[in-house]
Symmetry: C2
């Protein structure tokens, strides 16, 4: 097993404090952010498995349900959907996972006692340190990576279900080991989890390769609008409100479509124009690296990162497309 990444550090002290928090209490509410993703859901069930090994009792809860494609997670059925089922009582000991601030907990806060003690385990750089005890490592790729460290501190017995939960969080928060947060430590943990019997192929298939029905219908519509200009260095697609309605697409189904134009060989800037209301368009900017799209989006009152940014503009589709593509054109020169 890998050694802890930062020995004798503040992080080590946080690990000790987290361990004490859990050791000294007996009954826990375990909650991740609303509408949990792979890291949130994987972390939740992993903490549940830890508490089980320690002989503690606990309830796992979320505002919103575990997505169907994460239903394979061990004990996923036991995660209470707070909106639908609610809880019978309030809890004094809370383990809060993958939440940058307590608003991310959503309505589940109503299930905390007034003097509830919160252990805040997270990797978001924007975490505000809410709660009584923090276990935060902002250079971790996923909360499950921090849990791996915590479980090592507990000298927990590893097994396949636990490894599956950890692997799921790593896989989804690194985009399948493709994002720049995929550190050697992440890969080394993934190797250990595979050694414990995780079916990485099946997880990748279900979590990364599968598209929703609405996603593929939306992709079909979006690609039918694919337009190139500037020697194919600029490309864009458009999605109307009618497209969203006709395909029944949610924001989750919409994910990833913005990347298609930029991912074409030779394209420097890819754009997506999405109608969000009458004469209102959200513009997604993606750069292959040469153009700083944060600057471009900012010039339209938006913002973001060098390679991924966005803004919202008013006007007809034609006007908005002309305005934005002209400014990208200047940047390309």
């Amino acid at each position: 097993m890998s050694t802890l990444p930062i020995a004798g550090s503040t992080y080590d002290k946080q690990l000790s404090a987290a361990k004490t928090f859990i050791t000294e209490r007996d009954h826990f509410l375990v909650v991740a952010h609303l509408h949990p993703d792979g890291d949130a859901a994987g972390s939740t069930v992993a903490v549940g498995l830890l508490l089980e090994q320690l002989g503690k009792t606990y309830v796992m809860v979320n505002e919103g349900s575990i997505p169907r494609k994460l239903a394979f997670l061990p004990n996923a059925d036991d995660v209470v959907n707070y909106e639908e089922v609610g809880l019978q009582r309030k809890y004094n000991s809370v383990i809060c996972i993958d939440c940058a601030d307590d608003s991310r907990i959503g309505d589940v806060r109503d299930a905390f006692t007034e003097d509830a003690q919160i252990l805040n385990i997270d990797h978001h750089p924007t975490n505000d340190g809410f709660g009584s005890v923090s276990l935060i490592r902002t250079d971790a790729a996923a909360t499950v990576e921090i849990l791996y460290d915590l479980f090592q501190a507990f000298e927990l017995t590893w097994n396949q279900p636990l490894a599956t939960a950890i692997y799921t969080g790593l896989l989804t928060d690194t985009g399948g080991f493709r994002y720049s947060n995929t550190t050697p430590h992440v890969m080394a943990i993934a190797a250990e989890m595979l050694r414990l019997g995780v079916d990485g192929h099946e997880l990748a298939n279900n979590l990364l390769e599968k598209s929703s029905f609405a996603h593929i219908l939306l992709l079909k519509k979006a690609l039918s609008t694919l337009t190139f200009s500037d020697n194919n260095r600029l490309a864009w697609v458009m999605v109307t409100a009618a497209d969203m309605a006709e395909t029944g697409a949610t924001n989750e189904d919409f994910e990833g479509i913005v990347n298609y134009p930029r991912n074409i060989d030779g394209v420097e800037v890819g754009l997506l124009f999405k109608e969000t209301a009458a004469d209102t368009y959200k513009v997604g900017f993606r750069s292959a690296g040469k153009v700083d799209v944060a600057q471009l989006a900012k010039s339209f009152g938006g913002g973001g990162h060098v390679r991924a940014a966005g803004c919202t503009l008013n006007g007809t589709l034609d006007d908005v497309v002309t305005q934005v593509t002209e400014r990208v054109r200047s940047a390309l020169q």
Copy 2:
């Protein structure tokens, strides 16, 4: 560094023999299979870097060029395209990489002397053991995984360029660590290569996320034909010869399109009908797991694996689609 997977085995003896083969000679021809992929090209330059460290001289050569997206590989420019440039002399010591049989070497065989000694390094289960010395491990995900073992045996000094070559082969031959050949050993090597400074994010972007221009145009055409039946448990797309011609797509551009229908949530069988000549269609079958498409393809005179198979049928597109979908329908029931 990871230990060798099989100590004191036949494989260990093969490693020794390969080491001796290289140690005892001075000038090498290094060749991978024609039209090299990421594993072939990564392995080629990695062997070159090994030979350089050992103070040997060598020439790297291929029938066909290194694909443009692999041009970042260290010394990729030094790999001779045999068809275009040829070689001045013949070689007696050959290191042959990622080739299941010597036909995969292509015309480069003409550059071997009649009594050439060949070291055959490969991971294909079908490798026929051609050559004088074999270093074959068929449970390796990629030839670079075997090279990793060989380099450990040489106690070679690892560095970032070498690690990049190894990582490239792992990444491409495992489909981005998604195929079932992604063993713990593969992941552990990947972790080590990242530790040596490989930019895994950039490699994944360039090798896995990028699509060719022709690919995306073909995808757009294919998706415009997307058809569902049987409660969306069966879905298919069609690609005509005209589509291929209009988009200028090669077989490489075509790759991956067959997976789109099957990858839709709820679809059990995905099909692709590709016109290869007048009234002739290649049919690609993909299964989500419940239906054995090898059986289906076999019933049409084709074959393949449980989840991926194919056949060729004659008739009009309508006839072929009707014939195939009816048989899939029976299998779904």
